[in-house]
C-alpha cells in the first residue's frame, strides 16, 4: 500500500491480517449485495475479465496510430474525439466526453486528476497506481517539469507545458508527436510504440532500433 507508514499505524493488528480483513469485508459486501438481488456475481466476473483482457492502452494506441496515419481521422479526432473514436469499434465505447489534445513542438500536454483519479478508462484501461497516487496528484500541477524528469522525459526549456486537471467528466487523451524514423510504418507497427504514458503525457513514443 503506497504511503503506508507503520510508525503511524495505531491499529492493533499486523499488516497481513489487515489485508485479510479487507478481503473478508469485500466478500461480505458482495454476499450481502448479491443476496439482496442488487448484483449478479457473473456480471462482476465479466467486468473483471474485461479489464484484465480487453480494455487497456492498446485501444488508445490504435487511435493514436490511426491519427498519425490518416490526416482526415486526426482532424476528426481533434474536432470530436468521442465521435471519431466511436467509429473504430472498440471493446468499450467511450461515453460522451472525450477530448484529444495534440502535442506539438511548441506545447507538451500532460493529464492529471488532482481530486481523485479521473482517467479515460475506456481507451486506456485502468489507471496505473502512480496516476492515482498522492505524489503525482499533488505535484503534476505545481512542478510538471520535475515530474516529467522522474519519468525520464526532458523537454526543451522553451517548450510550453500544459497540464490538464480532469476536474469534471471530460476525459483527455494526449495525441503524442509521431517520432521521426517511422515513415512508411503500418498502423499496427505504429501502435506498438504508443505507450500508455505517452497518452497521459508522461512519456514520449520512441523508436528502438
Amino acid at each position: 500500500m503506497a504511503g503506508h507508514d507503520h510508525k503511524d499505524h495505531d491499529h492493533d493488528h499486523e499488516h497481513g491480517s489487515e489485508l485479510s480483513e479487507t478481503q473478508l469485508r469485500v466478500r461480505a459486501l458482495e454476499t450481502v449485495l448479491t443476496e439482496k438481488g442488487y448484483i449478479d456475481p457473473a456480471a462482476l466476473d465479466a467486468i473483471v475479465e474485461a479489464y484484465e483482457t480487453r480494455v487497456g492502452p492498446h485501444n488508445g494506441a490504435r487511435v493514436i496510430a490511426k491519427a498519425w496515419s490518416d490526416p482526415a481521422f486526426k482532424k476528426a479526432l481533434i474536432e470530436d474525439a468521442t465521435k471519431a473514436v466511436g467509429t473504430l469499434g472498440h471493446a468499450s465505447r467511450v461515453g460522451d466526453h472525450l477530448v484529444a489534445i495534440e502535442n506539438t513542438p511548441k506545447t507538451h500536454n500532460m493529464v492529471v486528476c488532482t481530486l481523485c483519479s479521473c482517467y479515460p478508462w475506456e481507451i486506456l484501461g485502468l489507471p496505473p497506481v502512480w496516476y492515482k497516487s498522492a505524489p503525482y496528484r499533488s505535484r503534476a500541477v505545481k512542478d510538471p517539469r520535475g515530474v516529467l524528469a522522474e519519468f525520464g522525459v526532458t523537454l526543451p526549456k522553451e517548450t510550453e507545458i500544459r497540464v490538464w486537471d480532469s476536474t469534471a467528466e471530460t476525459r483527455f487523451l494526449v495525441l503524442p508527436m509521431r517520432p521521426a524514423g517511422t515513415e512508411g510504418w503500418s498502423e499496427e507497427k505504429l501502435a506498438s510504440i504508443v505507450t500508455r504514458n505517452s497518452m497521459i503525457g508522461t512519456g514520449i513514443p520512441k523508436v528502438t532500433p
Partner: protein, 218 residues
C-alpha cells in the same frame, strides 16, 4: 470540502513511483470492488459523485493510509448503509437479514458491455451560457463543506475560457442529493504564475474544467 483528497500543489508526498509491468489488479478483491461499483452504478443505486464524496469524508488519516481500492470499498460500504441498501448489521453478519430494495435495473452478463460504458453527463441547458471561449474569468473563492470539483489551488484565480463542453449535471448538487442542477462546463486555463506566484515556471499553463457557478466575469 477542503479535504486531503484535494492534493493539487501540496508538498511532502515524495517522488512518483512507477511499478514496472503493473497488473490490472494486485489482489482479486480489488477487481470485485471495482466491478461492484460498476454494477451498483448501472443499477442507479448512487452516482459517481456520491462515491467521490463518500471517499472525501473518510478521516484524513484513513484516506492517506489505505490503498486506492480500500478507499473505494470503504466509500461503498458507507453508501450502501446511508442509502438504505443494507444495514451495518448485515455487512457485519456477511449475509442479508432482510429483503432488498427494488432497483431500476440489474447488471447481468448479457448487458455487461453497457456497464463498461460511461453514461452521459450531458443535460438539457437551463439557459444560455454565461461565458464564451476567450472570455477572462475569475474563479470564486469558495470553501463549501460539501463536495465540489473546484480545487483549492484554483480558487480566486484569473483565467481564460478555452473550451465550452455544453451543459452537464452539477456534482456539487448531485453529491448532496439536490438533483442534477445542470450547469455549463468550461475548460479554464491559467498561467502558472497566477496560481503559484511570480517565481513559477512561466512556460507552464494549467487548466481545470469549471462549472459555471465556479466562475465570475473578470
Amino acid at each position: 470540502m477542503n479535504g486531503v483528497h484535494d492534493m493539487g500543489g501540496m508538498d511532502g508526498f515524495g517522488k512518483v513511483e512507477v511499478e514496472p509491468n503493473e497488473p490490472p489488479f494486485h489482489e482479486a478483491w480489488e477487481g470485485r470492488v471495482l466491478a461492484m461499483q460498476r454494477a451498483m452504478g448501472y443499477a442507479g443505486a448512487w452516482h459517481i459523485d456520491h462515491s467521490r464524496f463518500a471517499q472525501e469524508q473518510l478521516p484524513a488519516k484513513v484516506y492517506l493510509s489505505v490503498s486506492y481500492y480500500q478507499r473505494w470499498a470503504l466509500a461503498m460500504e458507507r453508501n450502501v448503509i446511508e442509502r438504505g441498501f443494507a444495514g451495518a448489521d448485515e455487512l457485519a453478519a456477511g449475509h442479508a437479514l432482510r429483503p432488498g430494495k427494488t432497483l431500476k435495473r440489474i447488471l447481468t452478463p448479457a448487458v455487461v458491455q453497457d456497464g463498461l460504458t460511461r453514461s452521459s453527463f450531458f443535460r438539457q441547458s437551463q439557459g444560455p451560457a454565461r461565458f464564451k471561449v476567450g472570455d477572462p474569468v475569475r474563479t470564486k473563492n469558495i470553501h463549501p463543506p460539501t463536495h465540489t470539483r473546484l480545487p483549492r489551488y484554483a480558487r480566486g484565480k484569473l483565467g481564460k475560457v478555452e473550451m465550452c463542453h455544453g451543459c452537464h449535471m452539477y456534482p456539487d448538487s448531485v453529491a448532496v442529493d439536490q438533483g442534477d442542477c445542470p450547469q455549463w462546463l468550461y475548460t479554464v486555463v491559467f498561467d502558472s504564475r497566477e496560481i503559484w506566484g511570480p517565481d513559477a515556471d512561466p512556460t507552464v499553463k494549467i487548466s481545470i474544467d469549471a462549472f459555471e457557478p465556479y466562475l465570475d466575469p473578470a
